[in-house]
């Protein structure tokens, strides 16, 4: 029990009638890197946001480090947020501030540290992601990969126990993407943080994952180590990790209504 960092227990999310996530059950073990995979609209980003606590859970429960994060007051949620770090898809750096100020912001807000101390911590965090010499640059002056690394430095500012990554390699070239993966692995090993990564990039997923989860249209399909996933005979898993166009994931799109729809227009 004590080695579970995040326990997702029958978590459900609905938008009106539409069920986005259907009774997801999932454990994230302390110190591991768990990759959540799925196509567009699979609900993987929503699941991540529910774990972060920015999207409320409609049914079931999510507990982090043994404490529920559902139905918390603003203050309690804010306490929870201090213990986690999030890297957003675009990096989400504050555009009006330099990289150094971005990393310093959580420290200025949540600690009583002197400015000199904060400067040192900022340098350490930026050095960890290889951006120390760019401390005084604005987000508009750096590349997409650097933005993500800077976002990661900011996410780590308060030394979180858990790091969440939303599509860390989206929109990056293969080399930069591999660098970010290296960084995720390094942080996981060096700092011993638990990582939850949402991605649909298979190369990246297999590189960083200790375990992986596949979602499709809000449903849990399968969970396992990369080797287990590769060896899986499940048609969903096979199709997704091999990027095949034919299989259960795409069958629904070739619906019979297409012909009716065309005929309807003619009438």
């Amino acid at each position: 029990m004590s080695d579970i960092a995040i326990k997702v227990d029958h978590a459900t999310k609905r938008y009106g009638e539409r069920v986005i996530l259907d009774q997801i059950e999932l454990d994230v073990i302390k110190g591991e890197t768990l990759v959540i995979m799925g196509g567009s609209g699979s609900g993987k980003s929503t699941l991540l946001r529910m774990m972060i606590g920015t999207v409320p859970v409609d049914g079931g429960n999510i507990a982090v480090m043994g404490r529920t994060i559902c139905g918390l007051s603003t203050e309690e949620l804010s306490e929870y947020h201090k213990s986690i770090g999030v890297l957003f898809q675009s990096g989400a750096l504050y555009n009006s501030m330099t990289l150094g100020e971005n990393v310093a912001l959580p420290l200025r807000e949540h600690t009583d540290l002197q400015d000199e101390t904060i400067d040192i911590i900022v340098k350490i965090k930026l050095e960890l992601v290889g951006l120390r010499e760019h401390t005084d640059k604005l987000p508009s002056e750096i590349s997409g990969g650097m933005k993500k690394r800077a976002g990661l430095a900011r996410a780590m500012a308060l030394d979180p126990q858990i790091l969440f990554y939303d599509e860390p390699s989206a929109g990056l070239d293969p080399v930069t993407s591999a660098e970010i993966d290296e960084l995720i692995i390094k942080l996981n090993k060096v700092l011993g943080v638990t990582s939850v990564v949402v991605t649909h990039e298979m190369d990246s997923a297999f590189r960083i994952a200790d375990r992986m989860v596949l979602l499709d249209r809000g449903k849990f399909i399968r969970c396992g180590t990369p080797a287990e996933m590769r060896a899986s005979t499940d048609p969903f898993v096979k199709q997704f990790i091999n990027g095949l166009t034919e299989g259960p994931l795409t069958e629904r799109r070739q619906s019979d209504e297409y012909v009716d729809d065309l005929l309807d227009i003619k009438v």
Binding site: I52, G53, T54, T74, S78, E79, Y80, H81, K82, I84, G85, V86, F88, Q89, S90, A92, L93, Y94, N95, L105, P106, R108, E109, H110, D112, G151, R154, A155, A157, L158
Partner: protein, 269 residues
């Protein structure tokens, strides 16, 4: 297509207006509750004050030139428009009285607020909207930094305070605009113009204008913050929020002004 379409349109619009006013009210409540920890006590004040200062400069100081120019011209226009009419009644000497009272009570604050809507309201909405679109607001939340305390409180506080200061400048510039036209074209010396202005315009005219200005400033910044933070749908959403901010704010300012004027009228203030 449907005879009830206009009815349902009116109904939906009314519901939208009520909901909009409600959400502005809620934002005001939330911002007011966070003003103290954000600016005066607590750890947030370190950043809050730096932010407040930056916003005061951005909203209030940088707009002085444009507001002065606009209100100065309004003062000049007023005196040009009124002189022929007043001349018919032999009452040109009353021109300073009228401009003074009109400026202090009404035109200085209102024109300054409308100019500030274009200058600061639109830019606040676009700024917060872009932050929302680029996940910056979510990033703030996930680092346990309350966006209302961090972004809305300094903007609303700065705009409210600076709007009052700008109204004082606008009052002055409007009177000066009228004065220069009267001096240059109608031969009324500045001393007698200013004398007439200060005899006619009472402290209560000045104060009632400033009271309105404070409410104008709060309303304009709350509308801009609300529309900015609730942007949906990327760049088009940001553009939409900016337009709505200008339009809604001008309508809101007019109604607030009407309300104030009616109340002052009945109170004899």
């Amino acid at each position: 297509m449907n005879v009830f379409a206009p009815v349902s349109y009116v109904g939906r619009t009314a519901a939208y207006v009520v909901a909009f006013i409600g959400s502005i009210g809620l934002l005001f409540r939330d911002a007011a509750a966070r003003a103290k920890p954000g600016l005066f006590t607590g750890r947030g004040k370190r950043l809050g004050r730096a932010n407040l200062w930056a916003q005061m400069v951005r909203v209030g100081v940088k707009s002085i030139g444009i507001i002065s120019l606009v209100v100065f011209c309004i003062g000049a226009i007023l005196s040009l428009q009124m002189q022929p009419i007043l001349n018919q009644y032999g009452a040109v000497s009353k021109i300073a009285d009228i401009i003074g009272i009109a400026m202090l009570r009404e035109l200085g604050p209102l024109v300054a607020a409308i100019t500030l809507t274009g200058f600061a309201g639109a830019s606040i909405a676009a700024e917060l909207g872009t932050m929302k679109v680029s996940e910056e607001l979510e990033a703030l939340e996930s680092s346990a930094i309350d966006p209302i305390r961090f972004l809305v409180v300094p903007r609303v506080f700065a705009t409210t305070v600076m709007m009052i200061c700008l109204a004082v400048i606008a009052d002055l510039m409007g009177v000066l605009g009228g004065m220069f036209v009267c001096w240059g074209l109608f031969g009324i010396p500045p001393e007698s113009y200013l004398n007439a202005t200060f005899t006619a315009a009472k402290t209560r005219d000045f104060v009632s204008g400033l009271m309105k200005s404070g409410v104008f400033g709060a309303a304009l910044s709350l509308i801009a913050c609300h529309l900015g933070m609730t942007v949906r749908g990327g760049a088009a959403g940001v553009g939409d929020a900016t337009t709505k901010t200008v339009v809604y704010t001008i309508v809101a300012l007019t109604f607030i002004d009407l309300g104030f004027t009616a109340v002052f009228y009945y109170l004899g203030f």
